[in-house]
Symmetry: C2
Subunit: 178 residues, 2 copies
């Protein structure tokens, strides 16, 4: 995988625009993938990410048990696979095989990276206080990878029911904000 | 304001794509506005939204004290005003006057709607358990408004340091996901 390590201090710039991500887990010898859009940055460094994983999702059990996952960021070329992963359950199918996704061993967690995604964030669960009430997990990003060839990633932004906005033009304004 | 009431059950479709929002508050006779991108949907209905408001932000005090706010969703036409609101503090300036934003009374909260934004979500704080540790507030959307003339809102998605992706083309795939 022609990816390089990406500085943790810049991870927020990958997730802050709100892209759909593919959450990958591994538990009891089975890897799984699910798309999710309900996530937010919570801290710059170390990067903390909050996300909702429903108790109905097969990934919930793996995430809760292993406290490890990878957030993989797909671009528009993977849209059909992303929706496919959302339309099926890891209870029934091996999503890596079914959708032709390539698992790659991570450096610091047991869950696999997805080779086809332009960025991968290896995460561990650091706070479960809001899991019972909201299925809300706080993750710390331990290691980040990026495809250096992907300059303007055309990320997917879900508007519900399979409708996605694709990242369009980029504008820059003089900002004091980080 | 030519806006109409928007069903609470569809609010997730406005926030799930990850747009920059303008959070408006009112406290002790002063209204204020700040842009933020660190937010996530947490529940469909009633719609719950989690967001980070830093303790350094002037809005933090107002949000904590009043437990009310409005999340206003701007489009690209407002980009300069959005960045302006981020570059200044409500401690020093009246951002509504400075940036030519029009406050409109809300129906269910004391904070004002911003007329120029294509959608407005009146919110109350419902959970502060993660405020001390992460400045993370859980909001419930009580009332939503939308400009019915704005069909494909060109929302802003922050990539850090004043760089924004503008919502581009829309694609639709056959999805079982909500």
């Amino acid at each position: 995988m022609a990816k390089r390590s990406f500085p943790l201090s810049k991870v927020y710039a990958l997730l802050e625009p709100g892209p759909v991500v593919l959450l990958s887990t591994a538990h009891k010898g089975r890897s799984n993938v699910m798309p999710l859009s309900w996530h937010t940055m919570m801290e710059f460094e170390p990067p903390l990410v909050g996300c909702i994983v429903s108790g109905r999702d097969f990934s919930f059990v793996a995430l809760k048990a292993t406290r490890q996952c990878v957030l993989n960021i797909p671009t528009v070329e993977l849209a059909a696979k992303v929706v496919g992963c959302g339309n099926t359950s890891g209870r029934d199918v091996d999503k890596f095989k079914t959708f032709g996704l390539t698992p790659v061993p991570a450096e610091s967690v047991g869950a696999p990276l997805i080779a086809e995604c332009y960025a991968n964030l290896e995460c561990r669960v650091v706070d479960t206080r809001l899991v019972n009430r909201y299925n809300f997990f706080v993750l710390e990003v331990l290691k980040a990878w990026i495809d250096p060839g992907c300059k303007d990633p055309r990320t997917l932004h879900h508007r519900g029911r399979g409708v996605f906005i694709v990242a369009g033009e980029t504008i820059k304004l003089p900002s004091k904000m980080k």
